[in-house]
């Protein structure tokens, strides 16, 4: 919960990818993942091409490859589940080292492994090259309703504040000998959740007062009117376009 944890997903660099306006990166990442997701799993070469595009992006963005690989651990639970599929899939029709496997299950495993890894890498790259408030701004410029982006940015701003408040309450409980081991001791946790809710609600009122005091009229003001240039869009969309072309060829040749 310490302050240093906020930017664990961001890599401070001055690469061309970092400099791209956030909305172009958000849309590109989304389109890229969509292209990967619809690619038929049998087109193994296509996934190699996607991995190549991502490797190139890692190079351009100067995000250390080790950083990306270590963050990929987030997809481990999916991989763990997928690894069982060849053994539990319908019809054991393949024999490998004396173990009978399901070819359908093996394809399903490959499908999940490849798409989860490629999709996660795309989001890791987006987060590594774009700070969180910028991503929210990007969504705003992509015409996501301001209510949604405002809620998201307040959540980002206050998540750590509320987490610290919870931490202080837990410390206070521990300091007075609270050491829960049994379900019957859960009551203080439930009541502290209630307290936290009330405190957050009151904070919400104070923040709203602070907003009114600075001229808030019900609409979040436009602070950055800068928008992406045609060139920015061309550069950013080049990657999902390559992916879309790959997916199309995969469909046609299969």
């Amino acid at each position: 919960m310490g302050a240093g944890h906020a930017h664990t997903l961001y890599v401070h660099e001055h690469s061309p990818v970092h400099r791209l306006p956030p909305e172009t990166k958000v849309l590109s990442a989304f389109l890229f993942v969509a292209a990967v997701a619809v690619t038929p799993r049998e087109a193994i070469w296509a996934f190699g091409a996607y991995a190549g595009i991502e490797a190139a992006l890692v190079g351009f963005s100067r995000v250390p490859a080790r950083f990306v690989l270590s963050r990929l651990i987030a997809v481990a639970p999916f991989i763990l589940f997928a690894l069982f599929l060849p053994f539990i899939g319908e019809g054991k029709d393949v024999e490998l080292l004396g173990i009978s496997l399901s070819s359908e299950g093996t394809w399903a495993m490959w499908n999940i492994l490849a798409k989860a890894t490629l999709g996660a890498t795309a989001s890791i790259l987006l987060a590594a090259t774009t700070e969180v408030p910028e991503i929210v701004k990007g969504f705003g410029r992509l015409r996501v309703p301001p209510v949604i982006t405002a809620i998201a940015s307040f959540m980002i701003r206050y998540l750590e504040v509320v987490a610290e408040e919870l931490g202080r309450m837990r410390t206070a409980m521990t300091a007075r000998g609270y050491d829960p081991r049994w379900l019957s001791q859960a009551r203080p946790i439930a009541s502290s959740a209630g307290t936290l809710f009330v405190r957050s609600y009151e904070r919400g009122e104070r923040v709203y007062d602070a907003m009114l005091s600075r001229g808030y009229t019900g609409v979040m003001p436009v602070i950055d009117s800068r928008t992406a240039s045609a060139q920015d869009w061309a550069v950013a969309l080049m990657f999902p376009l390559l992916a879309a072309a790959t997916a199309t060829i995969a469909f046609v040749t299969l």
């Binding site: 701003r157 104070r206 602070a210 907003m211 005091s213 600075r214 001229g215 009117s225």
Partner: protein, 240 residues
Amino acid sequence: MSNALTVTDLHYAYPDGQVALKGVSFTVKPGEKVALLGPNGAGKTTLAHHLNGIRRSDRGRVEVEDLVLEDSNLAEIRKKVGLVFQNPDDQLFMPTVRDDVAFGPANLGITGEHLDGVIARALADVGAQDLQTRVPHHLSGGERRRVALATVLAMSPSILVLDEPTSGLDPAGRRELIGVLESLGMAQLVITHDLPFALELCDRTLIMDAGRIVADGPTREVLEDEALLRKHRLELPYRI
């Protein structure tokens, strides 16, 4: 020339019936720095919230320069009265320092390069030029306090109302804040429990207790009246 602030016979009771203000009257001249002292629960913060109309009373009057606070001119009043909240975490609600300082002037319709200039000037006024891209959560207490002040300065107010600006600051942060406030030319009404701070910054002091102004005079005279201070749960940390 009209006063920066004129409050006349202001009354207020909370919805639960608790009476917070019982006929508050005082004025602040342009450029004057006034301390507002008083025990906890005296109504100081409630009063502050009336000065820019985020709380409204049906009895009494608030005038900012030559403008009587009404529904129709709330936007203008809120531009003129810069209210700095007690807790900077309530005041700083945007994801970055820059966006937070921009919030007020952007609501006033300022955009583009003009907005960039306003932000840079407000941050420079509080010595926080280098904090633009920082996240409020990662600032020190003193930095947060000065940035909170900058968010209000960006609206070019004619009077600042500060609610316990020195609470929770270390001595160096407090010293920096005093320097910043002394350098600002607009009228200031400073709610504080920090009596030496009041003495250093403000020529005039008001004491409020139980919803009323009970003393109004030069800061040194007010703070030398030991009986008066004790009566209203105030105390100097040392003799002046």
